[in-house]
Amino acid sequence: MKNFLKHHGLWVLFATAVIAVALTLMSVFSHTSSPLANAVNVIAAPFRAAYTAVADRFNDFQKHYRDYTGLEEENAILRRQLAEMEAEIRQAREDSEENSRLKKLLGLQDRRPDLTSDLQQAMVTEHAVTNWTSSLTINKGTSSGLEVGDCVMDDTGSLVGLVHEVGANWATVLTTVDTDTSLGAQVFRTGDLGLAQGDFSLMQEGRLRLNLLPADVSLLGGDLVVTSGLGGYYPQGLVIGSVEKVQLDPSGSDSYATLIPAVDFSQLTEVFVIRSFDPGA
């Protein structure tokens, strides 16, 4: 090396100077890049792309890992928020239903102050338990002031039935279609009086009979039938149901009507027991 520089040093220096000057001139006069720089970069471009791709891949992987863990945390937070919001929606629905029930009750309170002064709200805990009776079990009893024979109505003021048996914190209600139920009734439009009674054959179809109507009674389908309140045992004006059809009794002396109850017993969740009422109102 020492010898090489001793013999050719000047030539090398000269060649270097020529190349440097040439490169400088080419870069001055070129509009893009010098041919040498261009050639070197053309050769380097695929290598640069390759290592950039590798680096990008590595960066992507790192970012993916970072994002994945972040997304997992975010997902957990969102799931928690969703569960909370769903719970809030459920609560809101329940509140809304309760609100609508209370509004109805408030309307009923305005219309029937005689009934609503001594009401006991109760939840239905059990529906029909045998095929031979139509009954409900509610979660209030003697501890809430309930007595056998108390009228039970829904939030619209329609008659559900009568308290049949009562315990400390429960009561059995026989619905209006049960064979053991019998109450004085009146057709709202005509004023005709009759006896609303459960009938075994009709109970299976969820219907009841309005007996002891005059033979020449002129009822229409859909006529509203309410409690008559005669005798003062039960309040007056509770809706029992509507007339489905009228038929002449086999004896020919009177007619009877088949009634559709105003209440869908299978859908009842909440009822109101009339503990006392003002018979004179």
């Binding site: 029909a128 338990v129 045998t130 031979w132 009938d199 075994f200 054959s201 299976q204």
Partner: protein
């Protein structure tokens, strides 16, 4: 002393199976209707164990089940089940002793007998109280029988298991 323990164990086991059936009826069977009726397994609880036992204890056990049913269920009269279930228990036991050997088919026959007797007794009581319900009642009996029979199978199997356990050395 051992015999007494065995007796206690036997009736405790029957009692536990009966309590489980009460739970099944309350929690599941009376939550749906098929052909317009609920599956009604209460009469079965008086009939099926009776087929594995002597008439007197069978009748007494059925009486106890009847008392519980009267306490829980509304009936045509307050002692409806207390009256009819001992009869069912007695007849089921006699059926197993005289007609069919105790087992699956005897239990099935006892189930049919129990449902028929219970529903006919209801019809009779309603008829006595001035309601002519024979036609509708018999139709209801038919439906109740058809709907309850498939659900009687797990009840029969439960009592059969209990009976095998308590009559292990018979």
């Amino acid at each position: 002393m051992l015999a007494r323990n065995e007796v206690i164990f036997k009736w405790a086991l029957y009692g536990a199976v009966t309590a489980l059936c009460f739970f099944l009826q309350g929690a599941f069977f009376q939550r749906f209707t098929l052909w317009g009726v609920l599956p009604f397994v209460y009469p079965l609880l008086a009939a099926i164990p009776a087929t594995y036992e002597a008439p007197v204890p069978a009748t007494i056990f059925a009486l106890c089940v009847g008392v519980v049913c009267d306490a829980l269920l509304p009936g045509a009269i307050p002692c409806f089940y207390t009256l009819i279930f001992p009869v069912i228990g007695l007849l089921s036991s006699l059926l197993a002793r005289g007609v069919l050997p105790a087992g699956f088919f005897c239990s099935l026959a006892a189930v049919i007998l129990a449902l028929c007797l219970t529903d006919l007794f209801r019809c009779l009581l309603l008829w006595i109280s001035g309601r002519n319900v024979w036609r509708a009642g018999l139709f209801l009996l038919l439906r109740e029988l058809c709907v309850t029979l498939p659900f009687s199978l797990p009840v029969i199997l439960l009592y059969r298991m209990a009976a095998r356990k308590v009559h292990l050395y018979d």
